[in-house]
Subunit: 445 residues, 3 copies
């Protein structure tokens, strides 16, 4: 096989370049390019070229997954149509309680100290066939398999965007929609007890205006920790949340988030429908709930919660007001409410991260990870303070009123690991005061 | 290094081709071939060639797994001796019951509506060291970790083929051996209650005659949902199943399947061995079992079930008859039986898929997956009708007789996702009638 | 593009060789080397060379994991900073008990036969960001999710080496620190009941002197199976273990291991702190514990255990003595103790494997795996004998004294699968004798 005339070489080379550059630049592998060159230089016959090209194509294995780390263990097919994440989180809490004698007497409980695993989750989720979403996530804390996200859905749908059927959090409240991995304090604020939380149903959600507007709406059956709810009482919820970003500068981490959630619980008190709100003092190891309405037979409950958050670089503020109107089946209607407000500041210059697709806060990434030796770094440090109020007393219902003041320090060693310390001063109206110091050791993947 | 004489080049090239073609054609990578060419063309010294060849060999990483999607997440070593599958399934059911007043009075139950997760499984299984099989599969529905397949075994054994020790389904009944992922209706037919189901023991199985004959036989201890059975009563089962394909045309999906299962339960009624059959009306959300023998002290039970199925392209029919003879420890012997027959038809032209290695039905794959836009497709649509009968009344045992008539529609969006709708008319002899409408949202991986 | 002068070629080639050899020899891929050659031979322009080099670099995907098998499923990033293991184990036990009539009368129990899954675990653990360790391992035997290793920690720390916070085994006793996957008999020896086992706390551990010295020390809260312990009684343990290898020859598998463990349990009997030791006869399927102190109110417990093991090729011997001093809150102090001694011999020439980082025994690897046909091999065969004693009677506490004599045979088919058979003769002092035959089918990954 002699050398081809220069003009032929040039034409072939030119075509190869054009083809490479304009048509499939990102799909051609280095091996394929080398083969082109060898052919163009006359080092390889056309037959051999075709044979090896076919082989190189096979080696690319388009159905093969790429397994890699990006804030977690990710498994993506080369064509992006199949994506999986193998997730999990461990949160080990330690707490010391110090209650005054009136509080101990009221609850007939000697508050002590101890440890627990607040969350111990494993899960697998992803997208298959490009548009089908699923997730199966279990929380094994306490030894049973509580269901968390457990759904199947479709994405990329016209207009509605996403539909999910199964066990999901009802779309309600900024604090409740922000993952426990990312919340600023160890426990969500007292009044988030009103948020319906996880139930089984159908959820529609999407973002509009380039992510500046998030909306979610769904219908849910009230279910147990394992997604099951059956009976005659027909307790269904309709819940919706809309949030927006009137101000958003990704650069520098500046945003103003505003939103509102509404939920109506349908039920027939004569058939056994009830509602109950009860809450611990922002410390899950507490052996008792400090406030508790007990079961209230109801014909319907209305919940409404406006929410606001401001992020201005390392500084952020967040607050929500919760209002619940209970249509009692056997008595005059009652109203409960609560609110919280907190501020946080990153001493190391990071800022709270925001997910437009969820209309909620996201993973904090330290500017410099923790490391010793030549990788020296101290992670991210955040300080925060919160005031929370929850009033479960109205009419003939004496659930109690609780005020919490909390100071927090968070040390983010890595994007996926942090140590949290919270001091809580809980003032239970007409009863007494409790001081709590608690720490959390957290990792997720 | 000057150009080699043509004859030398040709000889080298010829040898390379021969070697490539006959010895290691499928093992030589593109890089190795390119190196051959560079050497043959005199672009690279022999030393460099050898060095880079070694490097290319190392880059192939024969111990590295290929992770890919094939109806599920698969992890295979390049040499095929190690293979894993990370499996799971989610089935979210919704049902509305409508029972007549006689039925509600009989069970003292107001049938309502609701939802549950019928199955919520995670599992890992595979082959290691070429011949060792294992599988660990848990069902977390209801919050506890029910054991499903949980075994270790050997494959490729002479004559017996496969041996498995641990928690497995006893080999009995076509419908019971067909995975819940692939069954045509949401619940298996009424009389499959006789099938022994999952127990802990040893199972032998294999196929003969190019897969036209399947056989399985095993000895099992009757165990709880977690594979444990211990005590004095010594309740062991011997169970066997043989099936064949007198007619099988893979092309076009045509087959006739015939088979028979037999099981003997050993036990000593004086030591506490009992047997109990009870069944819901093909709707798992039913709060009561419609028929129930209650515990019968027994010295042994014989079960026999002939089975038949016909697939003729999109049309299929399937039926089984179940017979149970109970050797009562304290009374005259009793016989129970039941049967079912169903037909199904794929409106979109698919056909039911069959697994020769299991002698049971397999995954349905739509001709065109569900998609919008340019990938437009509507998945596979199947309609089906079934009649089931279960008679648990004989002699002094009045377990009741139940007849079910069921209509079903299945929408297979993808090979791994479907939505099922079933309407069931259940007629409980001498009591009353119940109508049930139920839906299932299913995904597996 | 004409040929470059020879001197230029040589210089470029020389630089490339030098650069390749001294700077990044192990990081340069075959593709990159081929590109160098093509450029050096003038087959490719500098621009194209640079372009393709960038592409080849991208194809190496340094953030991509390598998934492979090495005694388990491993997922490592190319740079070694992220490593995961997807672990699990299945142990299916079968046992037949034969107790004399005195023993059956004493326990009012008819010992029978049966099966259980002794362990059924799934877990995920690894290292992220180079220094952060975590592990989440669940045991689903019996249907609940018992926590095993469940921690987050840091490694590569100066002086202390490793710190782990969460649910871990307290560092105590050679037999207790050796994984259930690797222990020589189906159950650990009787007196390991004194080892504190899994609790929630903080553990420091490291090796010194090139692995010849292991030390571990930790503080733990006594917790339930799910890592939770809370209350007023303040039951904390301080536990430490130091072991050394005065003799260690990796070649030929010869070593002498000596060590000692100490643990102090703090508690206030007036606040409800208690201690209880109870044990089965080295057969987990036993429906009763043969010896049992019942709850003893205590102000503190001291445990001390010297340990020794000798491996001399296929032969090994191991023994430990356990002593517990209980400071009773309401009565005179009591002392309990026990010991065991066993010998084992590999008929097929393997030797017990040792992990320096744990100061405990490790995975046995057969010289020849089990295989048929041309891969013919019979795995590893080990025989062993053990004598165990446990005395829980002292002062006014009559927990009983139990002596066990055990013969064992282990067939290791592969490094990850074995079948065990144990015959146990249990002599319960002043009561009677029980013979037990039990088998285990084990696989782990």
């Amino acid at each position: 096989m002699g050398p081809r005339p220069l003009i032929v070489k040039l034409v072939i080379l030119g075509c190869a370049f054009l083809w490479t550059g304009f048509v499939t630049a990102q799909e051609k592998s280095v091996n394929e390019e080398i083969l082109d060159i060898l052919r163009d230089k006359g080092q390889i016959s056309e037959e051999k070229y075709e044979e090896l090209l076919k082989k190189a194509e096979a080696e690319k294995e388009p159905s093969t997954f790429r397994v890699y780390w990006k804030d977690g263990i990710r498994i993506d097919s080369r064509d992006g149509r199949f994506k999986f994440q193998l997730t999990g989180r461990i949160m080990n809490d330690w707490a010391v309680f110090s209650a005054d004698s009136d509080t101990e007497a009221f609850f007939n409980e000697n508050f002590g100290s101890g440890t627990e695993f607040r969350r111990a989750r494993l899960g697998l989720g992803g997208t298959i066939y490009d548009v089908l979403d699923f997730k199966a996530e279990y929380d094994f804390a306490d030894g049973d398999a509580d269901f968390k996200d457990m759904y199947v859905g479709l994405r990329k749908l016209p207009v509605i965007g996403h539909i999910k059927v199964g066990h999901k959090k009802e779309p309600f409240s900024l604090e409740d929609q922000t993952s426990s991995k990312y919340i600023t304090f160890m426990e969500r604020a007292l009044p988030t007890v009103f948020a319906p939380g996880y139930n089984t149903g159908v959820l529609f959600h999407n973002v509009e205006l380039d992510g500046r507007l998030f909306w979610g709406v769904g219908g849910f059956r009230e279910t147990d920790d394992f997604g099951e709810g059956f009976g005659e009482e027909d307790e269904y919820n309709i819940t919706a949340r809309v949030t927006g970003l009137p101000w958003y500068e990704q650069e520098g981490g500046r945003l103003l988030h505003l939103g509102i959630s509404y939920s109506h619980k349908f039920g027939d008190g004569d058939e056994g429908a009830t509602v109950r709100f009860r809450q611990r003092p922002e410390a899950h190891l507490s052996p008792v709930r400090f406030v508790d309405t007990t079961d209230i037979p109801t014909d319907g409950v209305d919940l409404v919660t406006p929410e606001a958050a401001l992020v201005f670089g390392p500084f952020s503020a967040q607050g929500e007001y919760f209002h619940a109107s209970v249509d009692r089946a056997n008595g005059s209607d009652v109203d409960f409410d609560g609110f919280y407000l907190f501020v946080s500041y990153f001493l190391t210059g990071e800022h709270r991260s925001y997910s437009k697709t969820k209309g909620a806060f996201d993973r904090v990434k330290p500017k410099k990870n923790f490391g010793l030796g030549k990788e020296r770094g101290w992670g991210a440090w955040e300080i925060a303070a919160r005031y929370s109020n929850l009033d479960l007393t109205d009419g003939s219902i004496s659930g109690g009123e609780l005020d919490d003041f909390t100071l927090g320090v968070n040390w983010y060693l890595y994007p996926n690991a942090r140590i949290m310390g919270n001091y809580i001063f809980a003032d239970l109206d007409d009863v007494g005061e409790t001081s709590i110091f608690q720490m959390r050791f957290q990792v997720d993947w």
